[in-house]
Symmetry: C2
Subunit: 176 residues, 2 copies
């Protein structure tokens, strides 16, 4: 009998949250597990996010919701972001019913919560409704306390040093 | 003109160090960068480490040195581990001369330092001798202070919760 999949959270102000989730996706694919990778508040048209192409290449299903964020797009309508996030949750609920995955990654969903685009209860109920055997990974700064309480594994990635602090610019292929 | 590549360290007692490095390798490959992934103190014959297969599949060169560690193999000769680690460093120095990479990952090399298989000075001089444009990522618990001082980016991954603490066993495809 399959056991309940774990909930993992990668949060904190240091570099390594999204890359850890990407690494988990790769490890899972190495074992032939079925992986779905959903990102929030990232705009591949703007930044590229070249990891998505490789994830798709190795058989990970990749989807994006609520790609804009007010910090990068001043013209963004906050109500629209909220609706787009909810579309993401609806998609996941449909996926629960229709398609079987072993690992679901929700990249930057903590940001949706931190910035009020989603309510903690909405994500908590989504997690609780997950099918047996589905492991879920959530990334992003500012994971709320209720989510941390619910999770089985929580890693806080703390910035000890970051080159941005010295004015070093984002580097293609390393930062995005 | 190419600038000096950064040195990144992922350390701490939380889950996410190796997976972050794997994610960085994937992102870099997505940009067509040339990546070399070298792991220490991991025995794929024993644990599998399925991420290595996918890394190779997407064009990352993967090598392992000093695959045994006394904590897992009681019969291991510590002197042998020390020599095997040095072989790894020699290999990298040769690689500096012969083959061009954009990103070099040294997975768990901090463990070699923490457990006295390598001296900090040996790794520091290896890092300082890196060719222009080569970014180096080091992972593993217990990164020594001198290495942190040298690095440009340091993330400490702190365990807030881990299912091992509750007696949950290592899961294939998720933990290794």
């Amino acid at each position: 009998m399959k056991s309940k999949g774990l909930i993992q959270i990668y949060t904190g102000n240091g570099k390594g949250k999204t890359t850890a989730a990407v690494g988990l996706a790769i490890r899972a694919r190495g074992h032939g597990l079925r992986v779905c990778y959903i990102y929030f508040h990232k705009d591949p048209e703007k930044w590229g996010y070249s990891e998505h192409a490789i994830l798709k290449k190795v058989g990970v299903d990749v989807f994006g919701f609520a790609r804009k964020h007010p910090c990068c797009d001043k013209k963004t309508n906050i109500e629209q972001i909220h609706r787009d996030c909810l579309k993401g949750l609806d998609y996941i609920k449909e996926m629960y019913r229709q398609k079987q995955y072993d690992l679901l990654i929700l990249d930057e969903i903590n940001i949706s919560l931190r910035d009020g685009f989603l309510k903690t209860e909405e994500v908590v109920s989504l997690l609780k409704a997950r099918p047996v055997g589905l492991e879920v990974v959530l990334t992003g700064r500012g994971a709320p306390r209720k989510l941390i309480k619910l999770a089985d594994l929580v890693s806080r990635i703390q910035k000890i040093k970051h080159p941005y602090d010295k004015g070093v610019k984002r580097k293609e292929g390393i930062e995005f």
